[in-house]
């Protein structure tokens, strides 16, 4: 039974609380992009992906997800833990010495749910293409999902991969771009304007779907289901997910300032106030 919208929204608030507390605890990490992608990852793992019980690296017989912009690890770890991949209490070890929850995700410590290291940007789409092609060789009809930052598209390897995926008809792949228009040094337009990302993907012969309300669970599920329906038809699918960096915490929104900065004690309390615990005391 898939959770209903109310349950997904409640879980989104819980994940937001996790992100804020994880980053605050070590005074380190990336809350902005994590908060902006919370609804997406909750919808992906709780509604959209066809997942099997347990975790194995090959993931044959299930959908796969690859996080390319590894710095938004807080949201990834929280959603993985709350989807049953590892104990929720382990979130308290984020970025601490001897933890499996490294600053950026790694397979090195066998954390269930993680299939590739990411952090150095621009590599995830290539990996996802390889995994998608392995699925075809294995006659596995499941889908490979990815998430990329928009700033991350400035890395050239993406464009090698984008060119390849359509040329080789990798049509069991849905690549999602988090379009929040911000990166460390400012807006993407200020740092390195990329023009129309939609036009670029279309020029590379991808199917493009836009989800303009990228922080709305129902809009995400609707748009992603449309994307799923377009798989298997010869073209890779790109989803442009319009999000707000720092979504759900008023003082973090509409700025790139919280890309990689942790809240202090008062700021944490304020942020948690804005995200009331709706599911009882389920903080880790």
């Amino acid at each position: 039974m898939k959770p209903n919208t109310q349950q997904l929204n409640d879980l989104t608030i819980q994940v937001r609380r996790d992100i804020l507390r994880m980053v605050h605890a070590v005074n380190s990490g990336h809350p902005g992009g994590s908060l902006g992608c919370t609804e997406f990852l909750v919808a992906l793992y709780q509604n959209l992906m066809d997942r099997k019980e347990g975790f194995d690296m090959d993931g044959i017989g299930e959908d796969l997800f690859f996080l390319s912009n590894g710095h938004i690890s807080p949201v990834f770890y929280s959603v993985l833990a709350r989807s049953g991949y590892f104990p929720v209490k382990e979130l308290a070890t984020f970025r601490l010495i001897n933890s499996r929850l490294q600053g950026h995700p790694t397979t090195h410590d066998n954390l269930p749910g993680v299939r590739i290291a990411s952090g150095s940007l621009g590599q995830g789409l290539s990996v996802a293409i390889g995994a998608a092609q392995a699925k075809k060789l294995n006659n596995c009809s499941h889908i490979v999902y990815t998430l990329h930052g928009d700033g991350e598209l400035q890395e050239g390897q993406n464009w090698e991969a984008i060119m390849y995926a359509s040329a080789k008809n990798v049509d069991n792949l849905i690549a999602t771009v988090d379009l929040n228009g911000k990166q460390i040094d400012g807006t993407t337009d200020e740092v390195l304007a990329m023009g129309s990302i939609r036009a670029k993907f279309e020029a590379f012969d991808w199917e493009v779907i836009e989800i303009t309300k990228g922080n709305d669970i129902e809009a995400i599920i609707g748009g992603m289901n449309e994307a799923k329906a377009r798989t298997g038809k010869g073209k890779p699918i790109c989803v442009l997910l319009h999000t707000e960096m720092g979504n759900g915490v008023d003082y973090m929104m509409y700025s790139h300032a919280w890309h990689g900065k942790a809240p202090n004690d008062a700021q944490l309390a304020n942020a948690l106030e804005q995200n009331y615990n709706t599911g009882g005391n389920t903080d880790y």
Partner: protein
């Protein structure tokens, strides 16, 4: 005491092609990836026989390494192929994060390593690749010496789980390793027993070391020749056993003197059994255009250079 004879010259890289052809038939999980160099890597037969398992990536090496890492997720055993420079230096970060740190079962196979690429010049002649790859935690580093050994190493890698770098050259060189010689990753091969000096060689320099040993014998110097095909993990035991007898060593490789086999041997000596060492390697320089023979002579990577290094090291005992 010579155990191995030249059975006729062949190109080293064709050993890789023959190995891939055999693997294609033997192991259905083996897949091949190529960055627009099918002919150079001798992938023709694999592509013809298993088109569904052959991935033409185009001139996009970073994407190739990432796709290879992804193919392992699903149980495939990817062998990537391009020139050594584009297999390593160009894609170091991709190998570091998506392959080595992620512990993916990718075999990075590199032809045209070193100076013997010849006329293309320094842009294509990487002399730093052994160093780059051996510094990556968990990476196995293999440098084969001839056609037969390259084939054997290719087959062995399919059964070895973990990231690996297989380095070989373009030219036609003496083929002297027996076709049935087992390739055991990490196990050095004693080619010639001797008492006065240990010559530790890798890649194309192994044959030159055997030629040098004959010349030395004529001069009354008994040289032990060890073929180090696996630079990492290094067979320290074989080296120390030989050094206990000879008390001095010459290392020989088609690589920069910095970061190569020679430095790996120096570390073993420093830790366990200090002894005089001389290096036959490129002296911290880029290469240049020329025939392979001219380059090996100019950069002092041939049998005469090994003989001279032996004469120097023996005086230091």
């Amino acid at each position: 005491m010579k155990k191995y004879i030249n059975t006729g010259s062949k190109d080293t890289r064709s050993g890789f092609g023959v190995g891939m052809t055999e693997l294609g038939q033997k192991n259905e999980n083996v897949v091949a990836l190529c960055a627009d160099l099918i002919g150079s890597l001798k992938f023709d037969d694999f592509k013809k026989n298993h088109p569904e398992r052959f991935f033409q990536i185009g001139i996009a090496e970073a994407n190739m390494i990432g796709i290879a890492a992804g193919l392992t997720i699903g149980g495939k055993i990817p062998f990537t192929g391009t020139f050594a420079n584009f297999s390593t230096g160009r894609v170091y970060d991709q190998i570091r994060q998506s392959v080595a740190y992620s512990e993916k079962n990718v075999k990075i196979c590199a032809s045209h390593a070193g100076l013997t690429l010849g006329e293309d010049g320094a842009t294509h002649q990487i002399l730093e690749d052994i160093g780059l790859m051996k510094m990556l935690p968990g990476m196995t580093v293999i440098n084969t010496c001839d056609h037969n050994q390259t084939k054997a190493a290719t087959l062995a890698l399919a059964d070895h789980h973990g990231p690996a770098y297989l380095r070989f050259g373009r030219p036609v060189v003496p083929n002297f390793m027996p076709a049935d010689e087992p390739f055991i990753i990490g196990k050095a091969i004693m080619l010639n027993e001797g008492t006065d000096v240990t010559i530790v060689a890798t890649g194309h320099l192994v044959w030159e070391a055997l030629v040098a040993a004959e010349a030395l014998e004529a001069k009354g110097i008994s040289a032990e020749v060890i073929n180090i095909h696996t630079i990492k993990p290094l067979d320290e035991e074989a080296i120390l056993k030989s050094l206990a007898k000879t008390k001095c060593v010459v290392t020989a490789e088609e690589h920069n003197i910095l970061g190569g086999l020679g430095e790996s041997i120096s570390r073993v000596l420093a830790l366990h059994q200090p002894a005089p060492q001389e290096f036959v390697a490129v002296n911290d320089s880029f290469g240049e255009s020329g025939t392979p023979e001219q380059l090996m002579e100019k950069y002092k990577l041939n049998n005469q250079a090994i003989v001279e290094a032996v004469e120097r090291v023996i005086k230091r005992k």
